[in-house]
Symmetry: C2
Subunit: 335 residues, 2 copies
Amino acid sequence: MKRRFRPEEYAQKLLEGDIVMLSQAITLVESRLESDRLIAEKLMEIILPHVGKSIRVGITGVPGVGKSTFIESFGSLIANQGHKLAVLTIDPSSQRSGGSILGDKTRMESLSNHPNAYVRPSASGHSLGGVQEKTRETMLLCEAAGFDVILIETVGVGQSEVAVEGMVDFFLLLMLSGAGDELQGIKRGIMEIADSLVITKSDGDNIDRSKLAARQYQNALHLFPPSDSGWIPKVMTCSAVENSGLDHIWNTIKEYESLCKSNGYFGEKRASQNLKWLKENIQSKLNQMFYQDEGMAFLMKNIERQVSNDVLPVNVGVRQLMEYFLNNRKEGVKD
Amino acid sequence: MKRRFRPEEYAQKLLEGDIVMLSQAITLVESRLESDRLIAEKLMEIILPHVGKSIRVGITGVPGVGKSTFIESFGSLIANQGHKLAVLTIDPSSQRSGGSILGDKTRMESLSNHPNAYVRPSASGHSLGGVQEKTRETMLLCEAAGFDVILIETVGVGQSEVAVEGMVDFFLLLMLSGAGDELQGIKRGIMEIADSLVITKSDGDNIDRSKLAARQYQNALHLFPPSDSGWIPKVMTCSAVENSGLDHIWNTIKEYESLCKSNGYFGEKRASQNLKWLKENIQSKLNQMFYQDEGMAFLMKNIERQVSNDVLPVNVGVRQLMEYFLNNRKEGVKD
């Protein structure tokens, strides 16, 4: 077991911008030990008045779109401007052990070595709900440590885009120039909730094609329902290898921030994200209570099979499961 | 209290296509009485082998798009072809009392009087989850009574479109010709999950504009991520008052049905909808357990305020709520 400090010690060093302590605090937050959880909760309470002073940007896109290269170049641009940048990843499929972050380290080598940047991979071994919770807390720790730009990358499969959209201010979708097959991996509905699209790899003989794609998407976005923010999503092109278009993207994000801070949407969205986080957290605790019993898992499998084959009505299945739950539940909730 | 029958009596009359008994069975399913619930559960078990033999179509669109007029004309076309058509509504905001369905009756007067059609308004006084559950069971009752086309209309506000999308085979979005303001009421992400769009009110001097809009939307849809069904969403125009374009829409739905039945998607989607329904039902029961205590409502309000104002960390709020729940919970679950 690693060394632990008092919550006040973590907090003080964090607020001084101590990066080693930041990493240790994140490890603390990711820990499943009850004793760690109590320290972590106290720590979160102490730092709470010091969080929130960043712009939180979510980035997603299908595999092959060039997310790592984009974040490496885009992140360097931001860090070079004097911002303190933290890069986090939401990846529920990650099987990395707590200590081994070699994959991500090599993936974003130059950014990781930048004095203004901090790259931290996903909490491993958690469910999506767990990863999401840990990532949100990690984000707050980074803010307490003085990071004023947070990039949260998702692996772009299944529900993780929705999870990241629920914790960021601005949601960026990276796309390739040719419409069609490469959209296969994008969850339906995601394009419509993105705050901007970026066509990547706009270099060499791909420039014309990506500019055309950008125009097409821009036209399509005009037909979408508008966002409550009053923001009209933009479609941009960039080349991470040629470092072109990245400043335009960064300026767009700042423009969005300034619009939404002036019309009050920025704060409203964060408040509603907090409430949603609270509700989801309770939901996930209730689910843990419900599913922690091994007999329940067996019964559930059985009922799922019958329900999906239409041989048992859903409401009867629900009643059987609830009866089992009420007769067999254990006290307390484990994380 | 109204008269109740034995489950077998309901079932027998239902399977004979008795419409009066169908209405009474729906009232039974919508009832909150424990004694009714037990009869309803048994009834659902008996009819289960006889349900599912319909095409389930969801219809949504912003207020003003002409949903009622569309359903009246479109429904008449279907009923005139000899299909037995049931029209249900999901409207969680509905405050109608159980008996008064005057609003909907007048709204779709000619369809209601059609011998092949059955129009039933939303279950009132329920939460969205409750409305959704009752609507699904009502749909199954209609199928047992021999209805082979089910139209489920949503009022097109908030979450009800997502709810209806989770219980139908085909999801139709009605739109007006001019892009822009009239999209305001559509939830973001809905366009992307629609199986087809219909531009309404394509008559008089609006024909050119609606044809142009249809082309624009069709182009935009090509840029969307494809559906797992292999189906490419179509954009159509229609005029409910001139009865034009309606047969094309109905043929499109039949084309979709035939494609998805031949590639297996039809059955897969229904099975996964059943499983999702099971999960959501359990979730809503757990939530009822959690929130049924009055002291909890008070504590929740207090914690929500602190969390949205960033003076209490979410995880601490969750712990306080869970502790209260575990110390104060009552036995049993009420509906």
